[in-house]
């Protein structure tokens, strides 16, 4: 009954004696009825596109769901050498983009990444199949951007050397982010892993001071990630008085184990992450802390979670007040004069500009004031050929400066200052430098390796190693909430993390946030919708009215469509829970 040819009887004698069927209908190729055809298409999940570090978020969650935590960690390290750091300090825009947000609560992606990072380090970084190139790359600055670029360049077969001005590697991760957010042993382990992958880090060498530009320029390529370390000044009277501390300098001394003596009451000026970190550090050193910020809560650039934790810990935040002048008594800081502000029309940053309220000045006596209104880069040492503007190194779309072999990234070259964006710029630079060292034109490569429409780049797609199609979604569009079929998802609560008891916070730099525990991890991972990526749920296979969707052979994932019989009804596409199929006109 599997003859695919129609039967023709030439005479009565050939016909059966009674009415009985003699063949199947397989000769009837119902595929000819079709005017639209279904196709499996891996599309980009919004979390992947939103990640500034270009992590394959959906991919590692898929592995964690199956309990393959070590494989998940390795998948992250194909893109990002800092899963333990990002699992703690990233502001997780992936969760903001998560389609589950519109259903119940976003998947706790950062907690899952942190759990993956708890796995022991692999003996070698993920395989790239690249031989040694013999090319050298000098990287100035060992922050997240510099180390990420070094890690990937080493994987690509080059010899990166990282020069760090301070005593220990890590940049802002070590000297900017306090230990209660990122414990030092966690950072050290990931930096050590990067070193073990073939990256040389030389500490205590400040570019332009301990090592000259001409020496650096001897390498085949240079990557500048010096970060921003110069405290912005308020430009108000008596700013040089002792007792006024720059925010980043204060954090550096706390991180270095030599915190300055603070008064019983500390005032912090500013509303960014440095201000919040400084306030929470001062609190842990035993002071009462008040933050004064010249706009309102909505305009604060600090991460919302950090602001909430600071408030819970007892930091007071006063909005709509700006400093007028510092008050001195015999060359010593005696207090600060502030005045109220109100919000006017938006400025160039899009936030509403604070305007002083006349006659609202008031004085507060205080001995310690930390100013944290922003930082700028120190670029005075750069050769004149490398152009910079507004204290930012000028770079093109893929990180190249005005000199062909010199690239720049991280805070010193970007407008957005955070760890994950810095990691993303390190990856982009690694790919662009690799293309430069191989004399390839990167302009043509970049669109192929960009995740989604506006996302970061994918190193695994750049290397095109392994099953690059399954990694990091496909070239398809980003899946929106409306594209999903919600009939197949149940509401389930986001797993909560535990935090350090408040009684222990005012005296210790112990880590505040704890991770998810073992079995909860899988429950949380299972909440993922897997937008745009097939999970073999069998819906298309079960609902096909024409048995035209077949499972691939044993041991193989996925399905194939038998176009001989697919009538093009579209049920498979409509019932796909996660938009991993499309209907289209056939070529």
């Amino acid at each position: 009954m599997s003859d695919e040819k129609p039967i023709t009887y030439h005479n009565l004698g050939e016909m059966p004696e009674y009415v009985i069927s003699e063949a199947s209908m397989l000769w009837n190729k119902t595929g000819t009825w079709r005017y639209l055809a279904p196709r499996y298409l891996t599309q980009t999940p919004p979390c992947n596109q939103q990640c500034p570090a270009g992590n394959d978020v959906e991919g590692f969650i898929r592995l964690m769901e199956k309990g393959a935590i070590a494989e998940a960690a390795q998948l992250i390290r194909e893109e990002n050498p800092f899963p333990a750091v990002c699992g703690r300090v990233c502001y997780h825009p992936c969760e903001t983009g998560c389609n589950r947000t519109q259903f119940d609560d976003p998947v706790a992606i950062h907690s899952l990444e942190r759990v993956a990072a708890e796995q022991p380090f692999p003996a070698t970084p993920p395989e790239t199949g690249r031989p040694d190139s013999g090319k050298t790359v000098a990287i100035i600055g060992s922050g997240p951007s510099g180390l990420t670029a070094a890690y990937h360049l080493a994987r690509m077969g080059h010899q990166p050397t990282v020069y760090e001005a301070l005593d220990e590697p890590g940049g802002l991760l070590r000297y900017g982010i306090p230990a209660y957010r990122l414990p030092r042993n966690i950072l050290k382990a990931e930096v050590d892993h990067i070193t073990s992958c073939g990256v040389k880090i030389i500490c205590g060498k400040r570019a332009g001071v301990d090592i000259s530009w001409s020496d650096l320029n001897k390498s085949d390529a240079v990557f500048i990630t010096v970060g921003v370390h110069r405290n912005r000044r308020l430009e108000i009277p008596a700013e040089n008085t002792a007792g006024i501390l720059p925010g980043l300098g204060f954090l550096e001394s706390v991180a270095g184990g030599t915190p300055p003596r603070l008064g019983q009451h500390v005032i912090v000026i500013g509303g960014g992450n440095t201000a919040i970190d400084s306030a929470r550090c001062a609190l842990r050193l035993g002071s009462d802390v008040s933050i004064y910020y010249h706009r309102s809560r909505d305009e604060m650039p600090a991460f919302e979670e950090e602001v909430n934790e600071a408030l819970k810990e007892g930091v007071k935040i006063h909005f709509l007040t700006q400093p007028v002048q510092f008050l001195t008594d015999n060359q010593h800081l005696a207090g600060i004069q502030l005045r109220e502000t109100r919000l006017g029309s938006p400025d160039e940053s899009g936030r509403r500009r604070p305007e002083p309220v006349p006659g609202s000045e008031f004085d507060i006596p205080v001995n310690t004031i930390i100013t944290a209104i922003g930082e700028t880069a120190d670029l005075d040492w750069l050769p004149p050929e490398i152009s910079h503007e507004n204290n930012r190194i000028t770079i093109n779309l893929f990180g190249q400066t005005s000199l062909e072999k010199v690239f720049a990234g991280g805070d010193a070259a970007l407008t957005e200052h955070n760890v994950t964006t810095a990691i993303g710029s390190g990856k982009l630079a690694a790919c662009a430098i690799d293309a430069f060292l191989h004399n390839q034109d990167f302009t043509g490569i970049m669109p192929r390796i960009t995740i989604g429409e506006t996302g970061a780049v994918s190193v695994s797609r750049y290397l095109n190693h392994g099953d690059a199609h399954k990694k990091q979604g496909g070239p398809g569009k980003v899946v929106s909430f409306e594209d999903l079929n919600l009939a197949y998802f149940r509401k389930s609560a986001r797993q909560k993390i535990t935090t350090l008891d408040f009684n222990n916070r005012s005296s210790s730099f112990e880590e505040v946030n704890n991770g998810l525990s073992g079995e909860v991890t899988v429950i949380e991972a299972k909440r993922c919708f897997h937008c745009g990526v097939c999970t073999d749920c069998d819906n298309c296979y079960m609902f096909c009215p024409d048995i035209a969707i077949l499972k691939k052979g044993p041991g193989e994932e996925g399905y194939r469509i038998n176009m001989d019989y697919c009538k093009g009804c579209g049920i498979c596409v409509n019932e796909c829970p996660r938009a991993a199929m499309i209907m289209e006109k056939e070529q």
């Binding site: 009954m1 599997s2 129609p6 039967i7 059966p16 009415v19 009985i20 069927s21 003699e22 063949a23 199947s24 209908m25 397989l26 000769w27 009837n28 190729k29 119902t30 009825w33 769901e65 009939a487 197949y488 998802f489 149940r490 299972k526 999970t535 073999d536 749920c537 069998d538 819906n539 296979y541 079960m542 609902f543 009215p545 024409d546 048995i547 035209a548 499972k551 038998n562 001989d564 019989y565 009538k567 093009g568 009804c569 579209g570 049920i571 596409v573 409509n574 019932e575 829970p577 209907m583």
Partner: protein
């Protein structure tokens, strides 16, 4: 990983096929899905009896058949009688284990074949009877049947004179025969349907499954919406999923999302002529029937009106 919508059986979907592609169902046909699922539940030791219906055509014209099991095409009114005969013959041949499946549409069940079905059920013949209900005589050109819902359009009940009177409650007729097993099923819940056919096969005596079968041309829906519409039928309580054991004991299998009937009706062209008042009337009927079903399942008390 499976994400089958809230089905209460977690068995994987059986992979053996007893149906071969090339059959003649329309795009998005619910009836062909029901046949596929049912045969997976019953296995190869099954004889199928098909009275006049869409499936007389779908299976293929002589000398072809797209089913990998024996089927007997019979006259419109004879599914119950023909299945009884096949059963008797198989029993005489010493094959009491072979399943006899009568697979009929709503016309052959609710209207023309009701007498022979009633006879078989009254004798409690050991057969499985599946009615795939697409709510009209779709094969002959969408004429109304007694399974057509109230106020629906068909070619014999045009929008200006839509169908008068409610859909016949076939489960109530069958439970009146006190047969051992009756159930409703829906193509949008294939694992549920398979579990019910398996249970019917394990039960000795006449078993009856009333399966809702969306029909894209007859319901005037786009073919890809077939499953979605069927799903809404259950979520709006228009077509609840339940079982009745021995004609007495009612079990609701699935808690509907209790969506307004408008969600179900507005997707279908055959209801596009309905006014707000018509929809309100249908909602009232659906709510009433659901209340009765809750009372029958002893999930809600009822009061004697004396």
């Amino acid at each position: 990983m499976t994400t089958h919508q809230d089905s209460f059986t977690d068995k994987p979907y059986p992979q053996e096929e007893y149906l071969q592609s090339g059959y003649l169902s329309c795009q998005g046909c619910g009836g062909s899905m029901i046949m596929r699922h049912a045969l997976k539940a019953l296995g190869p030791d099954t004889v199928c009896v098909i009275p006049a219906s869409c499936w007389s055509i779908i299976a293929g014209n002589w000398p072809y058949s797209s089913l990998n099991i024996p089927i007997m095409h019979t006259a419109f009114e004879t599914a119950g009688a023909a299945a009884s005969g096949v059963r008797a013959a198989l029993d005489l041949k010493g094959k009491p284990e072979t399943h006899v499946l009568a697979f009929a549409g709503d016309g052959g069940t609710f209207d023309i074949g009701l007498q022979s079905l009633s006879g078989a059920a009254e004798r409690n013949e050991n057969i499985i009877y599946i009615c795939y209900d697409n709510e009209a005589y779709m094969n002959t050109g969408i004429q109304r049947s007694s399974a057509t819902p109230e106020m629906a359009w068909t070619t014999t009940t045009p929008a200006t004179f839509p169908k008068v009177g409610p859909k016949k409650n076939i489960i109530q007729i069958l439970t009146g025969h006190k047969i051992p097993y009756c159930a409703t099923a829906n193509v949008a819940w294939p694992m549920d349907l398979i579990a019910k056919v398996r249970r019917a096969a394990e039960t000795k005596g006449t078993t009856f499954i009333h399966a809702l079968s969306p029909c894209p041309p007859g319901w005037k829906i786009s073919s890809e919406k077939s499953i979605e519409v069927a799903r809404l039928a259950t979520h709006t309580k228009v077509f609840p999923l339940y079982e009745v054991i021995n004609g007495e004991s009612y079990h609701i299998n699935f808690e509907p999302k209790n969506l307004p009937v408008e969600a179900y009706l507005s997707m279908q062209g055959r209801f596009s002529h309905l006014s707000k008042a018509d929809i309100a009337h249908i909602q009232q009927r659906v709510d009433y029937e659901w209340k009765i079903l809750l009372q029958r399942s002893m999930m809600e008390p009822f009061h004697m009106n004396m």
